[in-house]
Symmetry: C2
């Protein structure tokens, strides 16, 4: 924004531009949009930001975001607390819940091991995962992304859990449902072949 | 977001999704990002929103956004106050200022006439434009977008100004600089031919 723009607008655009996936052009558009919002809408937006940040924290059991002490999933006695699905972020939980098939509980690592980005295992919530594994734990499912970091994290965590005598599994690799063989990369295709099932 | 997500996070995502150009997926990502921001950053962001909305208003002369009574351009005695460039929004002023060639002043209409969207001429800052035109005004440049609404607005406003004895001009249509003839649409090409200049 040029120097003829009002300073508070420039500052707001800079704040928007710091958010992920928002470039300077979009940030300017958003800042101008705030000018056209009603007083109530602006107040509500500003309060929503503060509320989310100050009233939401991690569940004391699974590290998912919640505004209570324990999240609804950990509080749910109908779920199988012996099966723990380990994910990278709270967003992944939403993805699993949408399948409506998974009845176990979760554990959020809040990141993946990535030495390049300076994310070492002690920065993740691995300690919290190990401390909640007890005699009632039947299986730990490593559900990190099928990327280098996701694979490395799954391997690292599973090596820590196996000595505890708990079964550790990994999500299946294969063709995406509805996808096309033609567009599948070689590694995916190899994994799909390797993990083929009898029909 | 599923019902297992903390309510303040769901509410924040909904607020983000109300902003222009932000879908539900991006809104969720932004809401989760707020959780990872520091306390100071969240406070600064929230205050930037409120500051922009409450401390920025329209310039009493040209209707551009400013945090003073008159904007820096209207206050600038070195600019030619006899030439008024009429634009749709404050963003357009930034675009003109980047050319560093225009030395006149501006007038922001804050919209374009669009009956379909219920935007009638009285919703625009046309009255304010007419009232600032005086014996010192030499030219009014209609610099609205080359769209149906932009053209209609330029025609409407020019018909109101011409009786005041002031010259009204329109931005030139033609090929975009650096563009390719091959990709120019017929209307643009026709206008470029029609408005050809001797070299």
């Amino acid at each position: 924004m040029a120097e003829n723009t009002a300073l508070p607008l420039v500052l707001l655009a800079e704040k928007f531009a710091q958010l992920p996936g928002i470039g300077m052009k979009s940030a300017q558009r958003l800042a101008y949009h705030v000018m056209t919002m009603s007083d109530e809408d602006v107040k509500a937006f500003s309060e929503a930001v503060l509320n989310a940040h100050y009233h939401v924290h991690t569940c004391s059991v699974c590290m998912n975001f919640t505004d209570r002490e324990r999240c609804p999933i950990c509080e749910d006695s109908e779920r199988d607390h012996g099966i723990i699905c380990v994910v990278e972020s709270p967003r992944d939980i939403s993805a699993f819940e949408r399948t409506r098939e998974y009845k176990g509980v979760y554990h959020v690592l809040h990141g993946l091991i990535s030495p390049i980005d300076g994310i070492t295992p002690d920065r993740l919530r691995i300690k919290e995962l190990l401390s909640r594994i007890d005699s009632g734990t039947k299986e730990v499912i490593m559900a990190t992304n099928p990327t280098v970091e996701g694979e490395a994290t799954a391997m690292y965590v599973s090596k820590l859990i196996k000595p505890l005598g708990v079964k550790v599994t990994r999500l299946a690799f294969g063709l995406p449902v509805g996808g096309s063989l033609e567009y599948a990369d070689e590694v995916t295709l190899f994994r799909a072949l390797e993990n083929r099932n009898e029909i």
